[in-house]
Point group: C2
């Protein structure tokens, strides 16, 4: 009817259109949350699309997946900061995701990617990730997790037992006792280390007589009450940089992190450590903790833990072991002796996403004394009530996902013997690689006795090999070798057939500290074979042969190096 049509004002048309659009949006959004009734369902279509992306990703042979795009070009793809106004379709977004993100991601599970602590995962982790997300439990609250809180405590107790091996009655008493904390699941090794040192600080500067403790009165008051001029943490110079974060965050300053030199095998010098303790005591500096490393990030070396334990016990100081990398060596009958003394630690950090072969995002900290973590306990009326089973009250983090699913499943599906096999094989293959490197004139091994499955070495350009063998390299020679190795590693990474990472090892030569650029191999993928190790070394030899030594010596670093940036 014409009359009616005329009655509709422009404003009304706009309102109607708005309403319709809102209705369309609400339908789309509701659909994203609602189980579908079509066949094949929308969920099945999404599953299939993602499964195809996953398959393609995992089956590429290069470590750079299927592209070797340069960083400058890559970052241009992510330059828009606007959130789309309307919801996009799943199909087109996942295509975008595949082409722009997955295609340019690192194939961390490739057997030829042996340069970082991120490795292949057992298949069952993928469906478990789906289950974890579908359940979406918040592990720190009984009311949003129920069974998962107890299941997480069990998994942590299982690991605790591997480290400390206390009696059955100890575990019966503490495993599900809400007043006891055998350990915390954390987002990573950094938060695990920070948590351990926080407990150590609060426990050692706790309430006494009229003093209410550092928690309630603060660091300055605590130092004053206990008659200390400052607070420090003592450990090897190879401590992970999470200790710098901890020292800064806790207010004791990064200068309060006392770094003791290491020997030629990258293990802390015990005599120097003992001396540092005495020096700090003489200067009235309160020692919060002494740190031992079981598997340095740089070279996988293990500090002499028994000796450190002795120093700590004798001086009544908290002993923390950072076993983020090396912790799982305790599963190996053959190699666990290397970690002897770890059972004397007051706290231990182990990363799940390293040698427990769990997905990224799982750190752990364990406490010898189940009451230690009460020194950091907090309450909150809406959730954390005294006596509750909630897991957030004696931890750094709050709400957390059900990551214990991965840990508990892996401990059962891999078992002690399975982990033993993984550890033994990793170390065996590392020793194979060390032998190969020693046998090849192109390389120089920088780890004399690899403790675990990490090793560092470097490439020596041909003109300098004879001098290198005689140990007569000058500082200038070493600088040139450094530049060569940096360039070699960058080109290797950019080409992406194989991958080795890069670090710096400091040596003392003629009484002077000289930094050496080192190649760093991490062999923690059960699918990496001896043939793969050969391939990685041959790839480096081939790339090195293509770097023109003359142009190199004239420092004419070519375009490819510049383009990859200093990453």
């Amino acid at each position: 009817m014409k009359l009616n049509e005329q009655e509709v004002s422009p404003k009304q048309i706009f309102i109607e259109a708005e309403k319709k659009s809102r209705h369309k949006i609400s339908e789309k959004v509701i659909q994203l949350f609602t189980p579908s009734i079509h066949t094949p369902s929308i969920e099945e279509k999404i599953d299939l699309q993602i499964a195809t992306i996953v398959d393609k990703f995992l089956n590429t042979s290069n470590v750079n997946t299927n592209t070797n795009i340069e960083l400058d070009s890559l970052l241009e793809k992510f330059a828009d900061s606007k959130v789309p106004v309307e919801p996009s379709s799943c199909e087109s977004y996942f295509k975008y995701l595949n082409d722009n993100v997955v295609a340019h991601s690192t194939h961390t599970s490739s057997p030829l990617f042996i340069g970082h602590m991120t490795s292949a995962l057992p298949y069952f982790m993928q469906p478990l990730a789906k289950l974890m997300t579908a359940m979406n439990q918040n592990s720190v609250k009984i009311e949003t997790a129920k069974a998962l809180s107890f299941y997480e405590r069990q998994a942590l107790a299982m690991m605790h037992r591997q480290i400390y091996n206390f009696s059955d009655s100890f575990y019966t008493q503490h495993i599900q006792n809400n007043h006891s904390t055998l350990g915390n699941l954390t987002s990573g090794g950094t938060t695990a280390n920070i948590t351990a040192l926080w407990c150590a600080r609060n426990h050692s500067l706790g309430p006494k007589n009229e003093f209410l403790g550092i928690e309630k009165e603060g660091l300055a008051a605590a130092l004053q009450f206990y008659g200390s001029k400052g607070a420090v943490i003592i450990g090897s110079e190879l401590m992970h940089f999470s200790f710098d974060k901890a020292a800064d965050l806790m207010g004791i300053s990064t200068q309060g992190l006392i770094r003791i030199p290491v020997d030629c095998n990258n293990r802390v010098e015990i005599q120097a450590m003992r001396q540092a303790v005495t020096d700090c005591q003489k200067q009235d500096l309160h020692i919060i903790a002494i740190v031992g490393i079981a598997g340095t990030t740089d070279s996988g070396s293990v500090d002499p833990l028994e000796d450190i334990a002795e120093i700590a016990e004798k001086n009544n100081i908290h002993f923390h072991v950072d076993a983020a990398w090396g912790g799982p060596v305790i599963f190996s009958q053959k190699h666990r002796q290397k970690l002897a003394g770890i059972e004397r630690a007051d706290s231990v950090t182990i990363d799940g996403h390293k040698q427990l072969y769990l997905p990224m995002g799982i750190g752990m900290v364990f406490f010898c004394d189940p009451s230690l973590a009460s020194s950091i306990e907090k309450q909150a009326s809406y959730t954390i009530r005294k006596g509750s089973f909630d897991l957030g009250k004696r931890a750094l983090e709050g709400s957390r996902p059900g990551m214990s699913l991965f840990l508990h499943a892996a401990l059962n599906l891999i078992g002690i013997k399975g982990y033993e096999f993984l550890i033994d094989e990793g170390i065996r293959k590392t020793q194979y690689m060390a032998t190969c490197i020693s046998a090849k004139p192109e390389f120089e091994l920088l780890t004399e006795e690899p403790d675990t499955n990490l090793l560092i070495y470097r490439y020596i350009p041909e003109p300098l090999r004879r001098v290198a063998v005689k140990k007569q390299l000058t500082e200038t020679d070493n600088q040139l070798i450094n530049q060569f190795n940096e360039k070699l590693q960058k080109i290797q990474r950019q080409i992406g057939r194989t991958f080795i990472s890069r670090t710096t090892k400091t040596i003392t030569s003629f009484g002077k500290k000289i930094p050496l650029v080192a190649m760093r191999a991490v062999i923690a993928n059960p699918l990496t074979t001896e043939g793969d190790i050969d391939a990685v070394l041959n790839d480096q030899i081939q790339i090195a042969s293509e770097i023109s030594m003359s142009s190199f010596l004239s420092r004419d670093l070519n375009a490819i190096t510049a383009a990859t940036g200093d990453i």
Copy 2:
């Protein structure tokens, strides 16, 4: 041949058996990492088994999934701390997992589970979780993430823009600039809040003249240099308990966390906050930050952010907004005015796993000034080199999973209008619930004007209703009502048809602080209908009617309450 058989010694038999067992273990473990060639593949079988578990879990109608097992019986299932020696089979482990864990987990995505901040997720999160795990990128290192680092920066910039809405040129300059930090992805709101306060502390007590800054010289030296007697953080008494953790961890003590009273709508009293600032200044206390809350954990209330911004600006103090809960309200045209002033904050926390409907484990902190986070920057030779693109150097956490996949996908697949719909609907349904509660004589509303989609109320037992309406309840009356509500909530949770959480609201009556036990509803599930809200309230009325008032008054708390524990 007999002779040969005789030659085999018992030791050799043992060695052979050992070898065979080792071989079996290695085969089993290698298989877990290797793509299968059988049809149907082992992976397909595992996928199917887990998919069945997921379907059953998501399709249960009760919030306690399919059991209402008591906690004491549940925890007995997780009392063994031994790690199995041999690898278990996937099939039997997943059956165990289903029967003992999934079956007793909380159905957080049920439309009738409206008591916690953990909610339903859009379906696409499940396959994305699988993709994230299959890719297993370590987001903080370019070498183990490549595209994902830039993709994460983009997602953070998109959220930053929603808060601050700076110019196109600002975002072009900073979005992929490795010297700029628009924000950090964190494991949760707690680490986000701690990161923000850490930056605020280090920035406000930074290097000056001969002083190297708090990072290098520590808190005690910083206070001395700046002439302060202590350091404090000022915010509402309803600050989340992550602020207690931060204050303790940073060495300023929980007493240094100054909690300002709130008004009847749970918003901070501005006059008292202003006074606190003046008082601290008079006492030479250094104010690290003033905190405003956009969505308190207890009641969803929003502090007057404009007023707080003004105080902070006038006194040149860092202004942090904890918008872990309420942040996404910025997507709503209708309600974003409630957050006015958030764009004046120096730092803002938003949780992804709350009202952005992402899976658990995603917090975010945003910085107004992209150079602020340089106050906490750290280096490490093996990974974090100066000028690198690595994301771990200006952050609390180290290695992290590719959680940005969820955030980036959701921003695209839900879009601004989709989020607006989710926010508007949540608030609309909360107002519906408030109306229902006001209309029912059984309940008393404790939030006068709910700012967001949280509301608190309580049940008033029949004999006390008339006195309650007249506002003449005595302290004893309130204690009885408290006990009744605690019992009601515990029984409701145990039966598991519906769920509401519990908190404590402090009121002042006759000049005395009285704690009231409150029911806390959180309405953040798009599938929750008005009918579901009615069902939850009717469930409470029915349960209340079954609690015998006479036995209750005699404090004969029955078995069910005792069995559920004080959780």
